[in-house]
């Protein structure tokens, strides 16, 4: 176990190092400069600005400095906001993003488990048909379309929730719903397939033969066993929520990482782009590692060994 963990953490570090390097050189390849109106600046001014941001050093030195700083959690200064460190920008904005992402994950997964199992228990009935259709809608309708529709109809027309900005809990409802659609749909499809499998197995047959109630069978035997593989979709769901957050936070003006990322992309704020890229990758890697560990613990049939799969 310890050996496995050490190996995985080594790979995680290697992956992040590769990503940091690739991002760095991609940013160096990018056309355009971070200067807003270069034509109006004198060569001296440009020189001062470049010195300030460390852009005058040779590329390899910038690279070494960047990697060393990044390892210490320092991603340089943002070009966009005068002299704000990227790490501060991230840490001050991570709260709303985490809250929205977490809420969306919880809401989506719980609703998905409910709808998915209902669909499996009432398989091939109108209940199944309706839930399958709803989850297809959840997968198919892009998050930005859903977000705009929610904002307009629930926010503006019905005045149920604030349409934008960031205040209390009520401000989080609409963005959470928009973000939760994709985890909900994925979970419900996944749970349905697993549950149908489990419900057809011998031990369910045995439980029925023993005379257990229908609810008892579903609750004690079917649900638990069909939820174990659900752990494996946590990684993809995290990635889906990240993708969604970039547009949903923008639409609802949530001061989060996703909104900042899109803004930085549009104004060539390289240090911020690189910092957020690393953050997103680290988060996904950590989630994937967590998935494998948790899966090994809750399902004893999966053995974690030091060897590759």
């Amino acid at each position: 176990m310890a050996r496995y963990l050490a190996k995985r953490i080594f790979y995680l570090a290697l992956t992040l190092f590769l990503i940091a390097s690739i991002t760095f050189f991609l940013m160096k390849l990018m056309p355009g400069t971070p200067l807003n109106n270069q034509a109006k600046l004198s060569p001296q001014q440009i020189k001062v600005i470049y010195e300030h941001y460390g852009l005058n050093k040779p590329v390899w030195q910038q690279y070494v400095n960047y990697i060393l700083d990044a390892a210490h959690g320092n991603f340089g200064l943002s070009f966009q906001f005068s002299d704000q460190p990227v790490s501060y920008l991230i840490s001050s904005r991570i709260g709303p993003s985490m809250q929205l992402g977490g809420q969306a994950m919880i809401v989506g997964v719980i609703l998905g488990i409910f709808v998915g199992s209902l669909s499996a228990i009432r398989k091939n009935t109108w209940v199944d048909g309706t839930s399958t259709f709803i989850s297809i809608l959840g997968i198919s309708i892009p998050s930005f379309v859903l977000a705009i529709l929610l904002q307009y109809y629930l926010g503006l027309k019905l005045q149920l929730f604030p349409i934008a900005d960031w205040g209390g809990f009520s401000y989080t409802v609409l963005p959470t719903l928009a973000l939760a659609a994709s985890p909900f749909a994925e979970t419900s499809r996944f749970v349905r397939t697993e549950m149908v499998d489990v419900l057809g197995s011998d031990y369910i047959e045995l439980a029925r033969a023993k005379g257990l109630s229908r609810m008892g069978i579903v609750w004690h035997h079917a649900l638990r066993n069909s939820l174990i593989p659900l752990v494996t979709v946590i990684g993809p769901l995290t990635a889906a929520i990240m993708t969604g957050s970039m547009v949903v936070e923008n639409i609802f003006s949530v001061p989060g990482i996703g909104e900042q990322f899109v803004k930085s992309i549009l104004v060539n704020d390289y240090p911020t782009i690189m910092g957020v890229t690393l953050l997103y990758s680290a988060l996904l890697c950590a989630m994937l590692l967590l998935t494998d560990l948790v899966y090994g613990i809750i399902d004893p049939r999966i053995r974690i060994t030091g060897k590759g799969e």
């Binding site: 198919s140 547009v247 782009i273 890229t277």
Partner: protein
């Protein structure tokens, strides 16, 4: 002593050929794999309907360079006209819009000649929304199809090589996939789009860049199973070249996995195109794509909802149809996963 039996040839009578055949006659026509899958797909009503919806959308989109030849022609005098279909008097399709709480005829207000009408209205530059949606659909479909094609070629090739070679090659190739898939794909796409700048080819490359890993994984798993089959062994014993074995024995048996995965990749690619264009780093103005149309329409959604509704509807219908069709194809090609 027993009496020897004397048998002359003419003591035998041939069984009538017809009789023997009747016993073993196969009544149902024998079907190939594809025919069988097609038959099962047709039984799945929802998928079958979606297939035809997609065929129709595809036809309309691919003929749009002829039918919608002026998607960028702007008429500033005709800006923001609501949809109008002559002879139809339903609010929303009769050229009226609600201004300050009252429903007015926008065409009369703007002094538009009575013979001019826009089926789906116009945008803020007076460009025909119908034409732009058609051309946008074409762009989105093309990007989806080409990105999927790259996924297909790279992914299948990579998967087959990885499984066939095995050993160290396999380990290294799989590590590469692991690294690529542990980066959120939207981040890779954004970075590539920033370096390559907008346009169709960069988007296709950016979407394909990490889309192929799933295909490679599936192909590898399937090839590992096929590799140990007797007919593959027989082909190797007979001295068939590796390339020919891959082409003649592996690919046909991989086809169902490949087709199913392809059908799930196309809507994903279309989604990412719309996503990139929506946040402003995908297709650049004045070219229309469903993503840019939704992004433009969103700005006026409160007052001119049709500008976002129609492209959003088109995008959603395409995505839904592809997803339902993919589900149906999965059940058709692999009856084991069908609803039990």
């Amino acid at each position: 002593m027993e009496e020897k039996m004397k048998l002359a040839p003419d003591a035998f009578e041939p069984v009538s050929k017809k009789e023997a055949l009747d016993d073993e006659k196969i009544v149902a026509p024998s079907r190939t794999f594809v025919q069988d899958a097609w038959r099962r797909l047709k039984q799945n009503k929802a998928s079958y309907i979606c297939l035809w919806i997609l065929v129709v959308i595809g036809l309309i989109a691919f003929t749009s360079p002829i039918t919608a030849s002026h998607p960028n022609e702007s008429h500033p005098n005709y800006a923001n006209l609501p949809p109008k279909i002559p002879g139809v008097n339903i609010n929303g399709l009769n050229g009226t819009s609600v201004v300050a709480g009252k429903r007015v005829d926008a065409y009369k207000q703007n002094n538009v000649p009575s013979k001019v009408h826009y089926t789906l209205g116009t945008d803020y530059l007076g460009r025909s929304l119908a034409q732009r949606i058609l051309r946008g659909t074409l762009v989105s479909l093309l990007i989806g199809l080409f990105a999927t094609l790259i996924d297909l070629i790279v992914g299948v090739g990579y998967g087959v090589v990885s499984a066939w070679k095995g050993g160290m090659t396999d380990i290294v190739l799989q590590r590469i996939i692991e690294v690529i898939s542990s980066v959120p794909n939207i981040v890779i796409m954004v970075l590539l789009m920033l370096v390559l700048k907008g346009g169709m080819l960069p988007i296709i490359l950016a979407i394909a860049f990490n889309g192929w890993t799933t295909m490679a994984r599936l192909t590898r798993a399937q090839t590992l199973q096929l590799k140990s089959q007797e007919y593959v062994l027989a082909a190797r014993t007979l001295g068939e070249s590796t390339f020919k074995i891959a082409l003649k024995h592996l690919l046909p048996n991989l086809s169902s996995v490949i087709i199913i995965q392809t059908m799930f990749t196309i809507p994903t690619a279309i989604f990412f195109e719309a996503f990139l264009s929506y946040i402003g780093i995908g297709i650049q103005a004045p070219t229309a794509s469903l993503g840019t149309l939704i992004s433009d329409g969103q700005k006026n959604f409160q007052f001119l909802p049709y500008q976002m509704w129609y492209p959003a509807l088109m995008l959603s219908v395409i995505m839904i149809a592809f997803n339902i069709l993919a589900d149906g194809l999965r059940d058709a090609f692999d009856p084991r996963t069908a609803r039990r």
